[in-house]
Symmetry: C2
Subunit: 173 residues, 2 copies
DNA sequence: GCAGAATAGTTGATAATGCATCTGTTGTAA
DNA sequence: TTACAACAGATGCATTATCAACTATTCTGC
């Protein structure tokens, strides 16, 4: 029962399992459903979020798609060139920008969503509704766990920096 | 109860949940545990597989790490330069190559594995043993589902190509 | 045993990504 | 109000990934 702490069984290691499933679904969906439309998985994530949650600031899009802000900026530029989204200055702030689906983008997403559902259905074939509920709930929980772990870490770091700032003397790096 | 087929609720969409969890764990582990050793997540996947499953051919490493073969080739080259792995001609085939951990690589992995376990533990905090078992089993099942979907598709494509090859005439692209 | 297909691996050209940095804007504390 | 920090976004640059093409082996059917 007791596992050796420096031995790793990847077949039972959650991050490995998660990565494998995520990759295989994304790869297949990307090649079969997105590539014919000239879309990458990264682009799909952007338009899927816009379809699901409505127009967004780029910074929020970055958060929601787990994409770096600079990558997202260029991603949006590409999607604009393709005519799938628009980028307009925000009404309430001149430094913010609002990204939304164009009519063309809405049409495309509406076509892709049923296909995306098919891939999800294929992935969860043979899994009962109860198990599926557990699966999704655990994934949401795991995400929240890591999220708050991260917050705790950032706060801790900021506190440390604050203290060292207090102790800092000129010429003392 | 009936959901609109062209509307997508990402918070309940498995590929989205999986991607978010995979990304947040990998990002944190990468920054906090791997970067100090000059390792990327991609490199970690390689050495973790080697630690878990022993020496491998590159093609199998590519499969096990969900990495493209050409990417993996260069990844191994980098790991060799860092002294973490070795690449030797296979005993039974001159076109195959065997990648294994060096002594240095073994030491490094042995240090990282307990930390990797900690991250897994942080992710699954508050999830019962029963739920965890369901979670992992479902992920393995989903992977197998997509795997066999892919095989079916490849076989189908090969059959189609075979037929068009039969029908193909010279000068007919 | 031999021609042709399949396989393992590498490499070149190109594109995507991530980090640091920059600009411009907004929030905030004195 | 006025500095100054924090924030949103864009961009330069270096690194990395991707796809196709290529070399070198091995397998297969005849």
């Amino acid at each position: 029962m007791a596992k050796h702490p420096s031995k790793l069984d990847l077949g039972d290691y959650l991050p490995y399992l998660v990565n494998r499933v995520g990759t295989i679904i994304a790869d297949q969906f990307g090649v079969e459903a997105l590539a014919p439309h000239g879309l990458s998985i990264a682009m799909w994530r952007v338009i899927a979020v816009l379809a699901s949650a409505g127009q967004q600031r780029q910074i929020d899009l970055a958060e929601l798609t787990s994409t770096d802000a600079s990558t997202l900026s260029r991603l949006v530029s590409r999607l604009i060139r393709m005519g799938q989204v628009t980028r307009t200055r925000s009404a309430n702030s001149n430094r913010e920008v609002v990204v939304k689906l164009s009519a063309k983008g809405q049409t495309l997403v509406a076509r892709l969503i049923p296909i995306a559902r098919d891939y999800e259905a294929a992935a969860i074939a043979g899994i009962s509704a109860q198990e599926l509920a557990v699966l999704k709930r655990c994934l949401r929980r795991a995400y929240e766990n890591m999220k708050s772990k991260n917050v705790a870490r950032v706060e801790q770091r900021e506190t440390r920096e604050g203290q060292s700032r207090l102790n800092a003397a000129p010429g003392f790096r």
